[in-house]
Symmetry: D2
């Protein structure tokens, strides 16, 4: 199990949603699926899997988010093309467009998340930690199990009502 | 829920055990209780609570570790004194002696963990993340719940046997 | 871990609440504490523990319910006496009065739940199964852990959207 | 979530294992897959899914068990035929042969479990309760999530070391 904090997203546009940040989704499990609209494995495997995830889990528990991480054929995968693609493939979950500082290179969020290519999938837990990072096709059986495990790690919600420091010692203050 | 990685321990001696590191205990939940042998709240509350924790949870799940974090009366709380104290109070769990770079100041591990004083309690999960940090007396009911929650977050153990990158795209390599 | 379904409650009156049933509380963990107002262990241990439970856990997760199971000194522990007792001891959670068919014997719910005496504590999970039954004083540390474990067993909420019986065989109908 | 106790299995033979009972597997999650060797949906979907389950989860957590529940073409699906089938399809997990009292009717275990046909899948938790019962094809994503949820419900293992009935009242014995 990984446990590093997820880095902020750098995006230029969003489809199917207002702009979204990790903080907006805090409390829910995030399934972040990165893709390129002209990547065959994304169209055949990655995106349909994201759609199945959206249908299988409660939206109050799981947020499915797409991220268009263009690192090649930049001129062919513009936001305008992406918009038509999302419409034709009936992709209804929020999709962000990953930002570039080098217009010909790999985009910023993809680089921050150290993703090798597309499709990639990142599983972020309710408190913002990365719990899984996959490249290529992760089988549904294993992925369903990983998502359920992260969903199940719901905070029990404990209040330390009586916590007392009455009998404690503090440097420079002595013991009370 | 906290989630930062626990820092390494800096210790000069150990009682009731060979020297222990976080890595030695990986896979178990660690209840790290810091104390000073002349701190009244430690003797009245902190240490008996650690003993109850040891009796309540399976040792295969939970490791109770004491840490002697002397920040005052250094001459009165030497390792020799501590050894007699542990014997008289029948404390059988491993106890490390926190190291100092400034012999008159707060010890190193206490400083790294940003603990305010004694008794303190730090709950570290199976993968080495800090999930709770308490100062003074945390009530048993809340603490039992916190420990159980961290125990319950056992890795489900998923193998992605069929993971395939056959249909993936990689920068500079194209799509396969 | 026990797992038998909790039997319905048979009550004649309720304090601090409208009459409550198991079904009303479905989805929450129920901590059912049985007591008699003149039972010393109930006053010293059982009832204060129930109050601590109410303060420690979220009310959306845990419902603390008292049940007055009078099996002796019936004339001294009437509902009228109980009402004054609850007021004086500032007990704010719902309390039901266990019903009798034999006015001099043990009450109905206590018998159905096979409880030995007072105080007793029954832990019922979100789907109505009994997960723990204790008699006398259960230490806070162990009880906090037991409650947290049952809280944590939240249904992940899986929808089998694509479930298909297209390729199944049924007796008398053959295979489709 | 279902929660009824799983009924005992009635079997006449076992392949790939000594005869197995629910008790033998207590402590592990059981995925019981029922099939007929001449059922197309079993060969196409049910049995390969069971093989994927075996590869995805730890065997210390999950036991995959097949059950040959013949309710038609009895003469064509004898244990001798089944043995060859299991060999050819490289099915290595334990497979029991469901027993009949009516040689021409539905077998005993299938009837006890109220299964509609083949393939069916029953998910039994670590303490022997049925948590899911599916008929036909359950998608991998949902099934992986269901299995993970049941695996994750590991008993925390709490010892009530100090449990005391010192201050309790018992019918006919008074209060101590």
């Amino acid at each position: 199990m990984n446990a590093e904090p997820a880095q902020p997203w750098a995006t230029t546009r969003w489809f199917n949603s207002e702009p979204l940040t990790l903080e907006d989704l805090r409390g829910r499990v995030i399934v972040l699926g990165t893709f390129q609209m002209l990547c065959p494995g994304c169209v055949a495997n990655g995106l349909p899997q994201l759609q199945r995830i959206e249908q299988t889990f409660n939206r109050s528990d799981v947020a499915v988010i797409g991220l268009h991480t263009v690192f090649e054929h930049h001129a062919a995968m513009t936001p305008t093309s992406l918009e038509a693609f999302l419409l034709e493939y009936r992709i209804g979950f929020p999709v962000g467009v990953d930002a570039h500082d080098d217009p010909a290179g790999a985009p910023l969020t993809m680089t921050r998340y150290e993703l090798r290519g597309t499709p990639s999938l990142v599983l972020i837990d309710r408190v913002g930690l990365i719990r899984f990072r996959g490249f290529g096709h992760e089988p549904d059986l294993a992925l369903g199990a990983r998502i359920a495990q992260v969903i199940a790690q719901h905070d029990v919600g404990v209040t330390s009502a009586e916590n007392s420091v009455k009998a404690a010692c503090v440097p420079g203050e002595g013991c009370q």
